[in-house]
């Protein structure tokens, strides 16, 4: 019994960590650069589908199945999603925030409709199954399988976290912050805002693609329904709850919001009559919404928006001007 519980916990955390990767990607775009991307689902979907195409065995009813190693699928998913982000960014990055949001939302809807309808490539509404899973040969032992995958995903998130922290503290990260704070002043210092924004958007997109690839490989099955706008909403909720601009906050937020999501799913199946459950599933979204409101009321900058919270404290203590 308790072993089952551990296996479930490992599964739960592994899933949460795939969301943490998406959240880290969004944090590069929004938290560090201020790019309002409402098309997260598109880049996640691209990563998932590319990775699935690369790693599944040859399939009769669709293109590919190239049977390549899982690592190739992950890298390929990230690269293609990054390329897609670069293309989208090159066209839209000059737009102001609200227009960028509309444009990226349109891209997400388009990508979702594409994967739904490009049956020869994506398997259409039925999705792609039999995607090889990491440590698939351990699948007979749920505990070993779960823990191995958790270890792998933890290592990926940790490596990504360290790389992103390194970037945030680098001169590159400093320029991003400078541009976000005052574009005119940054330009006067020779920084090219468009170029840095596009780089951040591309990296964020690639990270989201990696998350899609990792998640698809972990579950072993992907379908267009996984990449509806609700996914974008979830990732945003995670980043806001955890603390935008903070990489640790992005990871924490993902685990918390995914926990709330899983908990509310369990509650719905436990307390709602079976024939009403499909409808009651909407309550999950309500719970995330309520959770989000609560966090924003108590900690407007998210749980780990700590540096900023401290900043506002010092602001209160320091007189506005000494003159």
């Amino acid at each position: 019994m308790s072993l089952d519980l551990i296996a479930y916990a490992a599964f739960f955390l592994t899933m949460a960590l795939t969301y943490a990767i998406m959240c880290l990607g969004l944090n590069v775009q929004w938290g560090q650069t201020g790019l309002f991307n409402v098309g997260i689902a598109a880049f996640v979907a691209i990563g998932a589908y590319v990775s699935a195409l690369l790693t599944t065995p040859d399939a009769a009813d669709r293109v590919g199945g190239f049977d390549l190693p899982i690592a190739v699928g992950w890298i390929g998913g990230a690269l293609v999603a990054g390329l897609a982000a670069w293309l989208v960014g090159a066209l839209t990055i000059r737009l102001r925030s609200d227009y960028l949001a509309i444009a990226t939302f349109g891209v997400a809807v388009t990508v979702q409709l594409c994967v739904l309808n490009l049956q020869p490539l994506t398997g259409g509404a039925f999705g792609i199954g039999f995607i090889p899973r990491p440590f698939g040969d351990l699948a007979g032992d749920p505990l070993a399988f779960g823990l191995s995958n958790l270890a792998l995903m933890t290592a990926v998130v940790l490596a990504l976290y360290l790389a992103l922290q390194h970037l945030a503290k680098s001169p590159w990260g400093r320029v991003l912050r400078a541009i976000r704070e005052d574009e005119t002043a940054a330009q006067a210092l020779g920084k090219r805002p468009i170029r840095f924004r596009l780089q951040a958007f591309t990296i964020g997109g690639a990270i989201m693609g990696l998350a899609g690839a990792a998640q698809g490989q972990f579950i072993g099955f992907i379908a267009p329904d996984n990449y509806l706008p609700i996914l974008t909403f979830q990732v945003w909720a995670m980043l806001i709850v955890g603390g935008s601009g903070n990489n640790r906050g992005a990871i924490l937020g993902a685990v918390l919001v995914w926990g709330l999501w899983a908990l509310s799913a369990a509650a719905v199946s436990a307390f709602v009559l079976p024939e009403q459950q499909a409808r009651a599933a909407a309550l999950q979204i309500v719970m995330i919404g309520v959770g989000l409101c609560l966090i924003l009321l108590v900690r407007p900058r998210g749980i780990l928006g700590a540096s900023n919270a401290l900043a506002s404290l010092t602001r209160k203590r320091t007189p506005k001007s000494k003159e």
Binding site: L167, P171, R174, R177, T184, A188, G190, A311, R315, E323
Partner: protein, 269 residues
């Protein structure tokens, strides 16, 4: 064969040792002409003051020279190159740094980081170099930090390096902006009202520093309303009104010019 008409070749070449050479600049906004044919040169090592009543077009001219606006017509030459159509972020690479009338520090960054942001040709600003050549980036960053600290000392902000820039007063922000562009080693510095809203003690510091910089050979173009400051600092003063040049000379000459006096009194019509 002699000719009284200056030949085209010669008029096209920039005057010797002119760092900035603005020619016949015109800037129109939706039918409003803010700058209506201004020419201005800044020679190497020179300190020029640009004065004029509000609405004279000083800041527009300044923005044209700094590249944040593009001229409707006319040319801007910097270091012997026509940069009229270049984007503003290229100016600093051409050796021209600017400050803003209302200072624009990066408020949530530390004072030291603000100055570091002025550094040019930092390989660490390339994404991949941070992973491919981390040692090189670190060494370069260390040198930049040393230089930034020296500059903070120069502008008397050395004790505040670790503070977020938003704790600085208005005058300190102006000094920070100065340090930030000095990080880029510009040949010419455009100062937009360095005295505005600055307390007298800090104003002395700013003036001292500007004089120091000029003594080090930097060319300086200064917009200022404070005539005392202009008189003390500038060897040459250009007065403008209604987008056009009005008078030019030493501060005393310009101040005594009747056109200038009537422009300030609002009698230009």
């Amino acid at each position: 064969m002699t000719s009284t008409v200056p030949d085209a070749e010669q008029s096209n070449a920039p005057p010797a040792r002119a760092v900035i050479d603005a020619r016949d600049l015109v800037k129109r906004f939706d039918g409003n002409t803010a700058v209506a044919g201004m020419s201005l040169t800044l020679a190497a090592g020179e300190m020029v003051g640009l004065i004029g009543p509000n609405g004279a077009g000083k800041t527009t001219l300044f923005n044209l020279i700094a590249g944040s606006l593009k001229p409707t017509s006319g040319e801007i030459w910097i270091g012997g190159r026509d940069v009229s159509q270049e984007s503003p972020e290229k100016r600093i690479g051409r050796g021209v740094g600017r400050t803003f009338q209302i200072p624009k520090p990066f408020l949530e960054m530390t004072v030291l980081e603000n100055v570091l942001a002025g550094a040019q040709a930092q390989d660490g600003e390339r994404l991949l170099a941070n992973f491919l050549r981390p040692g090189h980036v670190r060494r370069q960053e260390r040198l930049a930090i040393d230089k930034a600290r020296t500059l903070l000392e120069f502008v008397t902000l050395s004790g505040l390096g670790a503070q977020p820039a938003r704790v600085l007063s208005g005058g300190q922000r102006k000094l920070l902006e100065l340090a930030r562009i000095l990080m880029a080693d510009p040949q010419a510095i455009l100062l937009d009202e360095p005295a505005a809203g600055v307390n007298p003690a800090l104003l002395e510091t700013i003036m001292d520093r500007v004089l120091d910089l000029n003594a080090q050979g930097k060319s300086i173009l200064l917009i200022e309303h404070n005539m005392d400051m202009v008189t003390r600092l500038c060897t040459r003063v250009v007065a403008m009104a209604l987008g056009k040049p009005l008078a030019e000379g030493t501060a005393a000459e310009v101040a005594a010019n009747t056109d200038v006096i009537s422009a300030y009194l609002g009698a230009t019509a």
